[in-house]
């Protein structure tokens, strides 16, 4: 039958060489090609995973520093004074405001560009897209490897920036001009310049990834894998890649202009030379708002994948899920002004941005509704990945609701640049992206490493994380509404904030527990990698194609024989079938009819 003919092997050069798995099965590759300059998407995913987990520790420690300073602004840390230069810590070892600025700037930079994006997109984009669409590898394996190494390079640049004269960038991850483009204000010309370069290189890495993902999804799906049979993870990553492709270059342009302002004396953002500091804000947020969706859409894809598996039910409203993501992506490009309500923006324009932002809440709400509909009356299995995915749904509701508050201009005039914003960010990014990253790691670990992670410790990790993230981030709403500004080193300097200090101390102590709980995860992760029980091919009884392969998938080229896909990925508990799941490459019994699509 013509439609299911084997794809013919690709010609040499750019395209994957491994369509015929036997070509590769026979010649062993050296250590360098296997572990370092690997072209295998599965190995690249693992490289991303380990590097990004390292940065998770870095970003986490920076956060602990931020919280320590806010709660105990004048309590010295012994030893810091001989470790760090005098513009960072005082002689007694008290963190100075300049270092505090570095801490929160680099915390956010690291978490956004070096933890959340690489984990969601670098790890799971790489690992899942080819496996879930039945492809042998990415379209351009060379650029895939390049993408990882550019990411690693940008990471080294960002880490090095701590050690240059003046220290790391200290103008916030948003790098607003004129703070960022005047060395006289930010006190670290070199750190801020390295920040620009690092972000630029990181952007190149994202682009090589995005190019690959889009081309792969469009061109390399297995026979029968129609677009509307793709798992929602693939849809999410595909749409995310489009966002990356169109939003990240704009940040690249802005970062280049900032770099030139700092080092070549241009006047783009310099009012004294006719430039416009607000131009930076527009360029940054034109990227920045799509960026927040870049960080949440893949997470939404992951939960859409995990919830049906453990509820043993088809996902509720598959097509609505896809259209909602597409809607979010398109609307995401026209709402950036909601970050700039206090910038002196024209009031009509501000109303327009307000309304478009509130409209974006509609597809978000559709998705939330569908997740609940998926779990509703399912026979739920409360495994660790499921707990994290459910945790995500609940936390995302809180973050989304605070988002709608802020979308309304009059409210935002009051809460802008307060801790309320910080609370919002963390409900969506920690409660959203990070919880789903944990879910995904627990869920796909068996496939990636061939062993199971420990369930008991997984659940303990989940509950501590969930409880302490709420204890940490919820009170931030309160201090924010109480008037506490973001990005201040010492709240006790302000008369009106002194009464809030006990809450700040409470937040910090909770944050310390939250930080420490990560240890449980790391121990479980590394212990299970070597000592965990061996994983069967399909431990969760799921439908997507990666579970039809052995655990771990070792073949460079993935499938011995290109799979054929007969139906969508969420056919759980189909009446009339022998088992309650139906892998995508297994046809239905002729007498059984599917209900939905």
């Amino acid at each position: 039958m013509a439609a299911v003919a084997e794809p013919r092997p690709l010609e040499s050069g750019v395209a994957p060489v491994a369509l015929d798995p036997h070509v590769h099965a026979h010649h062993e590759q050296g250590i360098f090609r296997t572990y370092i300059w690997s072209h295998d998407h599965k190995m690249i995913a693992k490289q991303y995973l380990l590097t990004a987990l390292f940065f998770l520790i870095v970003g986490g420690l920076l956060a602990m520093g931020v919280r320590y300073k806010i709660a105990f602004p004048n309590v010295p840390i012994y030893g810091l004074n001989w470790l760090l230069p005098s513009y960072m810590v005082s002689e007694e070892g008290v963190i100075l405001p300049q270092m505090y600025n570095m801490l929160f700037t680099m915390h956010a930079t690291v978490m956004v560009f070096f933890v959340v994006m690489p984990l969601l997109i670098g790890v799971f984009g790489n690992y899942l897209i080819p496996l879930q669409i039945g492809a042998p590898d990415m379209a351009f394996p060379f650029f895939n490897a390049l993408s990882y190494w550019l990411y690693a390079l940008s990471g080294v640049m960002i880490l090095c920036s701590f050690f240059v004269d003046g220290g790391a960038a200290a103008g916030g991850w948003t790098s607003y001009a004129p703070l960022s483009n005047n060395a006289a204000y930010n006190l670290t010309q070199k750190g801020q310049s390295l920040w620009c370069l690092g972000i630029f290189v990181n952007g190149l890495s994202s682009l090589s990834g995005a190019m690959n993902y889009i081309t792969t999804v469009i061109n390399m799906r297995a026979p029968g894998m129609r677009m509307f049979r793709m798992p929602l993870t693939v849809w999410a990553l595909f749409i995310t890649a489009l966002l990356l492709l169109l939003a990240v270059p704009v940040l690249g342009a802005a970062a280049s202009m900032l770099y030139l302002d700092l080092n070549f004396g241009t006047h783009f953002f310099q009012a004294s030379g006719g430039g416009d500091p607000l131009l930076w804000q527009h360029l940054f947020w034109f990227f920045g708002h799509p960026e927040v969706y870049i960080m949440i859409l893949p997470a939404m894809g992951i939960s859409s994948e995990i919830l049906p598996v453990f509820a043993r039910k088809p996902v509720f409203g598959y097509r609505a899920m896809v259209w909602a993501m597409a809607g979010i992506a398109i609307l995401g490009f026209i709402v950036w002004g909601h970050h700039m309500f206090v910038s002196g923006m024209n009031i009509t324009l501000s109303a327009v941005f307000s309304v478009s932002t509130m409209i974006i809440a509609v597809p978000s709400a559709i998705k939330t509704f569908n997740w609940m509909g998926t779990v509703w009356r399912g026979s739920v299995r409360f495994t660790t990945p499921m707990l994290f995915a459910l945790g995500f749904v609940s936390m995302f509701v809180i973050g989304g609701l605070s988002g709608i508050f802020m979308a309304s201009t009059p409210v935002d005039l009051f809460v802008h640049h307060t801790y309320f914003i910080v609370a919002h960010i963390h409900y969506v990014l920690f409660g959203g992206s990070i919880l789903n990253i944990y879910a995904a790691i627990y869920y796909w670990f068996p496939k990636m490493f061939g062993r199971m992670m420990n369930e008991t410790w997984g659940r303990i990790h989940f509950w501590i994380t969930l409880i302490f993230m709420n204890l940490t981030f919820f009170p931030m709403h309160n201090v924010g509404l109480g008037g506490m500004m973001r990005r201040i080193a010492d709240p006790t300097q302000y008369e009106h904030l002194r009464a809030l200090q006990p809450i700040n101390i409470f937040i910090t102590l909770s944050a310390f527990v939250l930080g420490a709980s990560t240890l449980i995860f790391f121990v479980n992760f590394f212990y299970s990698m070597f000592k965990g029980p061996k994983a069967p091919p399909n431990p969760w009884e799921a439908n997507t194609l990666e579970w039809t392969l052995p655990s771990p998938v070792t073949l460079h080229g993935n499938f011995e024989k290109t799979p054929t896909v007969y139906h969508g990925p969420y056919e759980y508990s189909v009446p009339g079938m022998d088992k309650d799941f139906l892998p995508q490459d297994e046809p239905l019994k002729p007498e059984v009819k599917l209900g939905g699509h």
Binding site: M1, V4, L19, A139, N219, G224, A253, S256
Partner: protein, 197 residues
């Protein structure tokens, strides 16, 4: 396979077509390049609109000379197309590529002269407010792209000399020339907003 299964699989995807895929990937890349320039050009437009005396007195850009350079660059896109056609007709595009490379280099050379001329007049990145900032940044970014394009064309030319395009696989040439057309189109926009506005 029985009819039931056939009905379930549906139309399915054609076998992977490497040539199509490479071009597709190139288009995604160019889309992101377009956004890079959109950011820079958008910045230029915003700054210019907010500033009535945008081009400071005393700055005279060599419009005619640059117009000639523009003609050369646009022309080189056509010689490049000629090269593509030849390759598709299984002829070696060596000469067509050579001429394209020469024309591209002429454009770059002109830009170097223009920059150094302005520099000697005392106009540089850090002078004359945002006009100089944008001028050097935009033409610089674009010039860098032309430079990379020339390198790609030189590589294609050497592949052509080595007979690599004799067969059906001229992906590299296709991509290099797509890139070249892109650089050309961007230049027309840049030229229009900087020299003619």
């Amino acid at each position: 396979m029985d009819a039931h299964a056939t009905a379930l699989i549906g139309p399915g995807l054609n076998p992977v077509q490497p040539n199509r895929m490479v071009r597709f990937g190139m288009f995604t890349f160019l889309a992101s390049e377009a956004m890079l320039f959109a950011g820079l050009i958008g910045g230029y437009i915003v700054l210019r609109l907010s500033n009535p005396n945008y081009i400071p007195a005393g700055v005279h850009l060599p419009v005619l000379q640059t117009l000639a350079a523009t003609a050369v660059l646009v022309g080189s896109s056509f010689t490049c197309i000629w090269g593509e056609r030849q390759a598709r007709a299984h002829k070696r595009p060596t000469w067509a590529l050579f001429i394209t490379i020469v024309m591209g280099s002429l454009f770059l050379l002109n830009q170097v002269f223009e920059w150094s001329h302005l520099y000697h007049e005392g106009i540089w990145f850090n002078t004359y407010g945002t006009f100089a900032s944008s001028f050097f940044t935009l033409t610089g970014f674009h010039g860098l792209h032309v430079f990379i394009g020339v390198l790609l064309l030189i590589a294609a030319w050497m592949l052509s000399l080595a007979g690599k395009f004799d067969g059906n696989n001229h992906n590299f040439l296709d991509c290099a020339s797509l890139y070249w057309h892109f650089v050309d189109i961007v230049w027309i926009v840049v030229f229009a907003i900087i020299y003619l506005w």
